[in-house]
């Protein structure tokens, strides 16, 4: 079986936001929406810190769909629009999505965004990879693990564009893959483990 996942090195992430915009471009994400956000741990503002001055630490945490093994979104989707595909990715069938947004309420990671209106784009035209479907008003959307790229032997755009090579993509079911070895050898964890969604996105340092 193939089970695609991602591992992110939090020591290397410098909070540059290249991945956030690279994803937006690749996937033709409309104005006012992001599939991938870069948070500063413990702070509501970017470049914040944890602790009390001067004893501070700062960690940037990029967050997008965690492609969970036990997805909360899939569980609540009334139409089956949200599904786990044959490569372990959580995907949305836009033809089946009725825009109820139960998935958005269920997702502990706030990974999804919604097309409330006719999607607008700051450029006035569609951008990015023409293989990516253009979503209509009234459907939800989120990180697809760059399905169109990874189906074609390419890596997700965020992985390719990260200037510090903080991201690793690969098959979690292959024990010899770089990602599997990383997770085995480093103290890699997941976000909000207590929610029980069993993310396929790991974080380590």
């Amino acid at each position: 079986m193939t089970k695609y996942g991602m591992a992110i090195n939090l020591d290397r992430c410098i909070g540059c936001h290249t991945c956030a915009n690279a994803c937006k471009m690749q996937n033709n994400v409309p104005s006012g929406m992001l599939w991938n956000r870069v948070l500063t741990e413990g702070s509501d503002v970017i470049d914040g810190a944890m602790g009390e001055y001067p004893n501070l630490t700062r960690t940037f945490v990029p967050v997008a769909c965690q492609h969970c093994e036990n997805p909360a979104c899939q569980r609540v989707c009334p139409t089956g629009a949200t599904y786990k595909d044959d490569k372990g990715r959580v995907e949305v069938d836009f033809d089946k999505c009725i825009g109820c947004r139960m998935c958005m309420a269920a997702c502990p990671y706030n990974a999804r965004v919604f097309n409330w209106n006719e999607p607008a784009r700051d450029t006035g035209f569609d951008y990015g990879d023409p293989r990516v479907p253009v979503r209509p008003k009234g459907v939800v959307e989120k990180c697809t693990l760059c399905k169109e790229r990874t189906d074609n032997g390419e890596e997700p755009e965020c992985v390719v564009c990260c200037p510090t090579t903080a991201r690793v993509f690969g098959d979690l079911d292959d024990p010899n893959s770089e990602i599997s070895r990383l997770i085995a050898n480093r103290a890699a964890g997941v976000l909000l483990e207590e929610q029980g969604t069993r993310p396929q996105v790991y974080y380590f340092d």
Binding site: N9, G15, H17, A49, Y53, L56
Partner: protein, 255 residues
């Protein structure tokens, strides 16, 4: 290691680094270590130089080794060099005196013949003005823009719009909440912006990312408060008076 016209020079250590300063190469190593990529750099400067000499295909480096350089007092002519380059053979220098200057003769009236540290004119310990305006305002760079460039880019505005940042303790002292619109003011003027709580800001100071366009600021312009004092040495400086943006004291109140 340097190329000096028709010679190659090995830069020797002159003094040990002072205080916490470090040679460039050590800084590079430390940065790469912090992101786990230091295995791609040579271990030390000597290894780096040795690698450059031994792996170069440049015929100009034929026969030049680290050992030979060291034996030759760290300077060797490149192959085929007959005469070493002699700079300033006519002893005419492009200085105000026409002579080689080991200090700035013309800056002695302002006591900067050699670079001399001078206390801040406003943000200094013990300034009585701090009773009225206790917060230092700093305008610092942000990764999202290059000074005032790219400010209109919608995809960058996604990540940052102008706001002041203060330590949560300083906000609490003033009864200001994270997200409130505040007025930042002193005797020179004021501007308004939202304020955000940020534990990384040193108490007693405030930070705003520099060079926002006025139209993106709630009211006014950051420079309405900026220290406008010109130091007495400015007329001697090649590029004129520097603006001491961060040598500025302000107070902040809810707008």
């Amino acid at each position: 290691m340097r190329s000096a016209f028709n010679h190659i020079l090995l830069a020797e250590k002159c003094i040990d680094p002072l205080f916490e300063s470090k040679p460039d190469f050590e800084v590079q190593r430390l940065i790469l270590e912090s992101v786990g990529l230091d295995q791609y750099l040579p271990e030390n400067a000597e290894e780096y130089v040795r690698f450059q000499l031994e792996n170069s295909e440049d015929p100009m480096l034929e026969g030049i080794t680290l050992e030979k350089l060291a034996e030759n007092h760290c300077s060797m002519p490149l192959p085929g060099t007959e005469e070493p380059r002699i700079g300033y053979a006519d002893r005419q220098f492009k200085t105000p005196t026409g002579r080689m200057e080991v200090y700035y003769e013309d800056m002695t009236p302002v006591e900067q013949a050699l670079p001399t540290w001078v206390e801040n004119s406003e943000a200094y310990e013990g300034n009585p003005l701090a009773e009225k305006y206790p917060l230092q305002l700093t305008q610092t760079r942000t990764r999202f823009f290059v000074h005032s460039h790219f400010r209109a880019a919608k995809w960058l505005q996604q990540f940052y719009t102008p706001y002041l940042e203060m330590n949560p303790a300083d906000l609490a002292d003033r009864g200001i909440q994270d997200g409130d619109t505040v007025e930042i003011f002193n005797d020179r003027g004021s501007f308004k912006a939202p304020v955000r709580a940020n534990a990384a800001i040193r108490p007693g100071s405030s930070r705003i990312y520099e060079a926002a366009w006025s139209k993106h600021v709630v009211e006014g312009n950051f420079q309405n408060v900026t220290n406008n004092r010109l130091s007495d040495r400015h007329e001697y400086l090649l590029t004129g008076a520097p603006i001491s943006f961060n040598d500025t004291l302000v107070e902040v109140k809810k707008a």
